[in-house]
């Protein structure tokens, strides 16, 4: 709700202790509850009798004169009304005794202005061009800037939780992923790992001649990050969605290799098993989107399954090579995840967006020095990669799926909408750091 004390109201100078207060019109903005029924508000209760409804006008187009004449104007499609009344007068609509449609909030109508900017005088464009050329020339002629010093770490592993679990705020979330199936398509899972005793785990191998047991470690590590326990018997918490149902699909063999056939079979199994979240920490360094993955991603979304894939580790930012997002993450229909370090800066290996459609990094997550489960007897391991960032987002997707009931593209949009923006280029970090619902 926009109120007079809200920050960053468009067109209003930010008002601190000495700043101007936002101007108001004297009218009130009333937000009506979503009742699902067309119950009118009991306007008469607060002495309002002249009420205009947007449905009484062609195309819902209420002319300004009508708004001035009416004491209350209801925008039916929005569930919002503009009302001429004293602030206290409308409080009666929010009491339990009020008949009719409930009122969620009443706020003063604000006066908005065009955002202050360069005046549109004739010389503006030319001056801007001049400034741009001057800036470009200065950059080209300047000696190379020294590499920026590494930023200070903002997070570190503690006895309670890994830095990644803290950074995505999973440890502060009341959500657990309960009731949400998370498929991790990887090298399988160590079914003997004590941290997962008692958990609901469906394991399946799509690699010929191998069972679902993890003979590499990568898959167990990724499952640990996405779905590890809230309180392991030893060491810090490393898992995000600690009550999610685990679907461990082995699509990469003990040697770490796999092909489309096994990966697509794993996706098919996860979609058919109605997993809302499919985590794929795998990829090939090809710049073109691979049509089967695009089709699989699209059809998975249509059936309520969101595929989240690693952007890739083919960058070496230390030597100026930003890399590129590989397949399957470079399909439009598949979410691509970049890797962050403890300073919430890009890990040196994290691949950058391709210019082609679909080739963008969508979101970022912890992928540097990530502590998680490893096949026994080793039990835990700390490794880095966009492979480690991806299951953080998968676990977060499970939390959001639980919190909102959203699936598919809606779940995708929620993850991006809710992500914390970072001072990193969008080509590297997409919408920023994925975070948990609070």
């Amino acid at each position: 709700m926009i109120g007079p004390s809200g920050p960053g109201v468009p067109g209003i100078v930010r008002h601190g202790a000495v700043g101007p207060l936002p101007r108001t019109t004297g009218r009130q903005i009333v937000v009506l509850a979503d009742t699902g029924e067309d119950t009118p508000v009991d306007w008469a209760r607060v002495g309002l009798h002249s009420v205009a409804d947007s449905r009484d006008f062609a195309d819902g187009d209420v002319p300004p004169e009508a708004m001035q004449d009416a004491e209350a104007t209801v925008f039916s499609a929005l569930g919002i009304a503009v009302v001429t009344a004293e602030p206290g007068q409308l409080g009666l609509l929010q009491t339990a005794e009020a008949a009719g449609r409930p009122v969620l909030s009443v706020s003063p109508e604000l006066v908005h202005h065009v955002l202050p900017g360069a005046p549109p005088e004739a010389g503006g464009y030319t001056a801007g061009y001049r400034d741009g050329v001057a800036d470009l020339a200065a950059r080209l002629l300047a000696p190379p800037a020294p590499r920026a010093p590494a930023a200070a770490a903002r997070f570190e592993d503690t006895a309670q939780a890994t830095w990644g679990v803290q950074a995505v705020r999973a440890d502060a979330s009341a959500r657990t992923g309960r009731g949400i199936r998370v498929a991790v398509l990887d090298t399988g899972f160590d079914a003997a790992h004590p941290d997962f005793a008692g958990r609901t785990i469906a394991a399946r191998s799509f690699v010929a001649g191998e069972d679902a047991q993890d003979g590499h470690g990568h898959g167990t590590h990724c499952i640990g990050t996405a779905c590890g326990p809230r309180t392991p018997s030893t060491g810090p918490r490393y898992g995000v969605a600690h009550e999610a149902e685990i679907y461990a699909g082995k699509v990469l063999g003990t040697d770490g290799s796999g092909t489309d056939a096994g990966i697509l079979a794993g996706i098919n199994w996860a979609v058919t098993s109605r997993c809302p979240v499919i985590s794929m920490s795998l990829g090939a360094d090809v710049a073109q989107a691979h049509p089967p993955y695009s089709a699989a991603g699209r059809r998975a979304l249509q059936q309520g399954s969101l595929i989240i894939a690693a952007a890739g580790n083919n960058a070496d930012r230390r030597s100026g090579n930003p890399g590129f997002v590989g397949a399957p993450a470079n399909s439009v229909e598949i979410m691509a995840v970049g890797a962050l370090d403890q300073a919430l800066e890009m890990a040196y290996f994290s691949a950058r967006s391709l210019p082609a459609r679909g080739g963008q990094v969508d979101v970022a997550a912890p992928g540097w020095e990530v502590y998680s489960a490893w096949p026994m007897p080793t039990r835990y391991n700390t490794i880095s990669g966009t492979s480690m960032a991806t299951p953080h987002v998968a676990g977060l997707a499970a939390l959001w799926a639980e919190a909102t009931g959203r699936r598919g593209l809606e779940l995708w949009a929620t993850l991006l909408q809710e992500s914390e923006r970072l001072l990193q280029p969008s080509v590297d970090a997409g919408s920023g750091l994925a975070v948990a619902p609070q």
Partner: protein, 77 residues
């Protein structure tokens, strides 16, 4: 043999059997029919993949990609 993934168009998702028959008739050894995704995987003799695009309902025929993780002891995976 070349391993391929055949993507089927939306109009043939409910009629994958017919597409499979068409692919077999053009020399494809069909390994999996992924009915949840509308994708059929298998293999064809070298040079025969192009002929599969003529089958009614086929959107694309792509040689399968291979994925390879670094070894377990690698610091970046």
């Amino acid at each position: 043999m070349t391993h391929v993934s055949v993507t089927v168009d939306d109009g043939h998702l409910a009629a994958l059997d017919g597409v499979v028959q068409g692919l077999r008739a053009r020399g494809m050894q069909v390994d999996q029919v992924l009915d949840g995704l509308g994708i059929i995987t298998g293999s064809v003799p070298p040079g025969a993949a192009g002929a599969l695009t003529a089958v009614d309902g086929v959107v694309s025929v792509d040689e399968q990609l291979a994925v390879q993780l670094p070894p377990p002891e690698a610091p970046v995976q």
